[in-house]
């Protein structure tokens, strides 16, 4: 029930009612962006943002930098095992 899908805001359709269009995969649908707008982020500034969509609402913005850092850490772990394998092989 708590499932959410990442999507990108491609159009602000009604800033007053906080409505926008998101593209999720190839599908476009209307979402409410009340959860992600504030003084710093008025509706018109939300264009292009990646958000998590849940039951017709953009629940939160996805932090691109944090996502990249998580993936970089995981890559580092994967590489470290790749390296040890190579090392073991070279010792043989």
């Amino acid at each position: 029930m708590c499932l959410g899908i990442p999507g990108q805001i491609i159009e602000i359709t009604n800033p007053e009612h906080k409505l926008a269009i998101v593209k999720v995969g190839g599908v476009k649908r209307q979402v409410n962006i009340a959860c992600i707008v504030d003084e710093e982020h008025p509706p018109e500034k939300c264009l292009g943002d990646w958000v998590l969509v849940h039951v017709g609402f953009a629940m939160n913005r996805i932090n691109e930098q944090e996502a990249a850092e998580t993936l970089a850490l995981l890559q580092e772990i994967a590489n470290s095992y790749g390296d040890t394998k190579d090392l073991q092989r070279s010792n043989l």
Partner: protein, 375 residues
């Protein structure tokens, strides 16, 4: 798909798998006996992903995943379904609900059966769709079946605020929203439950933040890692939990930092607080009554409260005798250990709620379960 495919990368999963294997070996070596670790994933979304991607299969043998009660459909008591069906019998009402609730068995029938028998029950994707139906049918009363944890409750709160702003008087909510923290408190208070750590619910935490979980390490000395829902997210969270266990730490850690912030989402929390107040107690199927675990509408918004607007029987109905969903939700029994699993109780004809929702441990195991676990 961005933010999905990258978190399903097999090479990174293999790296994590090796790290996890090494850590679990170290943990067994350091403890005097061969330590068997029990980790509970709280959220039904995680349960589904764990079975779908076979995550349990590639974990070391000494790590066991316990599937927790974080599936709102699974914890819905029979009496509330009966109440919903009683509402549907009112010819004036169009009853709207998420598809998840349609097949949940009440004491006599489900919403799906009631619909087949002629009740006007409509499935919606969003509570806003329900509000739209209200605008299109001004002579009818539209009731929305509010289900879900803190992830979903803000969306119904915003919908009620919109109904109030637009003065839509034929819309109301039958609130069955439940809260994760009181359920975790109730679980942890049970001395029979031996757990070594928690994989915390990512999307609930996106709303409430990471601070409300502090009682878990502080009072119960268990680690918890808030996790995303892709396979790499869950793997990384298990790895982070093992690191905590190995280093004798217990903290609230956040694996899902691309979406979860310490303070949560203030707009969502504010909307929830404006519209809802906490019920003194709420019944959870299989777990019984849990104090302060449900949300009801504040008196200021009573005109949008189906429980104030219509007569609701409010019956308490015991669970089916053969059904062991309660034990499964508490992590005491495994799905296949239930007497009726896969025989009398299947996703087509569920007896218990854990077999209804795809996030229920029984339904997930029925669909994706591997025979090796049974051997």
């Amino acid at each position: 798909m961005k933010y999905v495919d990258e978190f399903r990368n097999p090479e990174k999963a293999q790296g994590l798998q090796k790290e996890i294997a090494q850590l679990s070996l170290q943990i067994s070596k350091n403890s005097h006996k061969n330590k068997h670790l029990k980790i509970m994933e709280v959220c039904g979304g995680h349960t589904h992903a764990i079975f779908k991607y076979g995550i349990e299969e590639i974990l070391p043998d000494n790590i066991e995943l316990i599937h927790g009660p974080g599936c709102p459909v699974c914890v819905m008591p029979k009496g509330r379904i009966d109440d919903a069906i009683a509402l549907c019998e009112n010819q004036q009402i169009i009853f709207t609900t998420f598809g998840d609730a349609m097949r949940v068995p009440g004491s006599k029938t489900s919403l799906l059966q009631a619909k087949a028998e002629g009740a006007d029950i409509r499935m919606v994707y969003s509570p806003l769709d329900s509000l739209k139906i209200a605008k299109e049918n001004p002579t009818k009363e539209i009731v929305f079946f509010g289900l879900g944890f803190e992830t979903t409750a803000p969306s119904t709160a915003f919908t009620i605020l919109q109904a109030a702003a637009e003065n839509i008087s034929n819309f109301s909510l039958f609130s069955n929203h439940v809260l994760v923290i009181p359920a975790l408190e109730a679980l942890l208070a049970n001395p029979d439950l031996q757990l070594d750590g928690f994989v915390g619910p990512g999307h609930v935490s996106m709303v409430i933040g990471t601070e409300p979980y502090q009682f878990i390490p502080q009072r119960y000395h268990k680690p918890i890692v808030i996790s995303g829902f892709e396979p790499l997210d869950i793997f990384q969270s298990i790895w982070m939990l093992l690191k905590q266990i190995e280093e004798n730490r217990c903290e609230v850690e956040n694996q899902y930092n691309r979406l979860v912030e310490k303070g949560g989402n203030q707009n969502a929390i504010q909307a929830m607080n404006q519209v809802f107040t906490v019920r003194e107690k709420f019944e959870w199927r299989g777990l019984g009554e849990i104090p302060n675990s449900g949300l009801k509408i504040r008196p200021e918004y009573a005109q949008f409260d189906a429980e104030a607007k219509f007569t609701i029987p409010n019956l308490k109905v015991p669970d089916h005798k053969a059904c062991q969903c309660g034990e499964i939700l508490k992590g005491v029994l495994k799905p296949w250990e239930c007497k009726v699993f896969g025989t009398a109780c299947t996703p087509e004809t569920p007896i218990g709620t854990c077999m209804v929702s795809s996030e229920g441990a029984c339904a997930a195991y029925y669909k994706y379960g591997r025979l090796s676990v049974l051997v």
